[in-house]
Amino acid sequence: MVATPPASASESFDALGTTAVVATTQPDQLAAALEAVRATIADIDTACSRFRADSELSRVNAAAGGGAQAVSRTFIRATRCALRAAALTDGDVDPTIGGSLQAAGYDRDFAAIRAGGPVRFRRAGGWRCVEVDPDRATVRIPAGVELDFGATAKALAADIAATAAAGATGGGALVSLGGDIATAGAAPAEGWLVRVGEDSRGGPEQPGQTISIAGGGLATSTTTLRRWVRGERAVHHILDPSTGAPAAGRWRTVSVAAATCVDANVASTAAIIRGDLAAAWLEELALPARLVAHDGSVTLTGGWPLELI
């Protein structure tokens, strides 16, 4: 009896403070896909990590109020990606949220955060103050402003990595970085299977819905993870840039499918912050989305499939 070869192969590893999953439609090319993805992740981490003292982001933040800083093309790309997200969401996803995260207590790698005293929330610096010169490859921010690319850099890495993996293998590739999913190349015949839940570290058995995607990106933002305590208050990592306080709207988890992982993640994050206005906004953009309210009720937009019972 001849065993049927697997239609795809996957492997996971720790990266960017979370778990990376790489899948390819060319099982014998999995090693090449992994190599391409690891290289992309290393590049993004060196440029954009807020918790690495030697990252370009840390250097730019340390130079706030000073002269323009020479940065890599990767950093320019990440900065422009973050500013585009801000423009498309009217500032609901703002890369100058770094100071707000610091003030809220997210001032170190999440695993090292401990409970602390009360905090005074601080609004974001305002994305329009970021000066980018792509020709000279420089970035400058005013004094008191701190960048954080948490809402876009991981998704950008997934998009770049998926394209690189597809190119390296000559087949279809899927890359998930902490649940932010990007695909490139031809998908398996039945599509890429995704369990849409609330915790990317959980297995496919967790509550949620299993769907298939033929391409593009898929991202989930949730207020149920990355939570900590300051004073008497539970705090989470999705802050409203206009106040610096944790988003307290109607939705606890939002999953969005879009043309890219970046677009999906921008929309899902903005939806958490927009609260009651989110469903209409997503519908207007014709984005397939699954929004879970704090009471567990689910709202679908943009042609997201109904859950089969």
């Binding site: 049927t4 697997p6 795809s8 996957s10 979370t18 778990t19 899948a23 500013l83 585009r84 423009a87 498309l88 103050c129 000066e131 980018v132 792509p134 020709d135 420089t138 998930s176 902490g178 649940g179 932010d180 999913i181 398996p188 039945e190 890429w192 299977l193 995704v194 369990r195 915790d199 990317s200 967790q206 949620g208 769907i211 298939s212 995607i213 033929a214 391409g215 593009g216 990106g217 898929l218 991202a219 989930t220 933002s221 149920t224 993870l225 990355r226 988890t253 499918a257 043309a259 890219t260 677009d263 921008v266 929309a267 953009l285 014709a286 397939p288 943009g302 499939p305 109904l306 089969l308």
Partner: protein, 100 residues
């Protein structure tokens, strides 16, 4: 005994008339030269514009270099909406999308 007024008055009026006529000719010549220079400059500018194609600058100085996305940019929907899974293929991994 009265005498004719000196010829100074007539001579002076004639000289003034001659001076004014000369000034008018100079003024007219200056206007024609200025018009010719403007026309020639425009013609040269058109020739230069057609001969050397320029490029669009993305930024010029630190104060004007804040990059903005094109106004037509928007969050893009996927080419195909997600599909419900009726029966899960056994040989394909299931990836989880959730928070991290």
């Amino acid at each position: 005994m009265a005498s004719d007024p000196p010829p100074f008055g007539r001579t002076s009026h004639r000289a003034v008339a001659l001076r004014d006529a000369g000034l008018r000719r100079i003024s007219a010549t200056t206007r024609w030269v200025a018009a010719a220079v403007v026309a020639l400059s425009g013609a040269l500018a058109l020739m230069a514009a057609n001969a050397f194609h320029g490029h669009t600058a993305t930024s010029t100085s630190s104060n004007s270099s804040v990059t903005q996305p094109p106004s037509s940019d928007a969050i893009q929907q996927p080419s195909q909406a997600p599909q419900a899974v009726v029966q899960q293929p056994q040989q394909q991994p299931v990836v989880v999308s959730g928070g991290s």
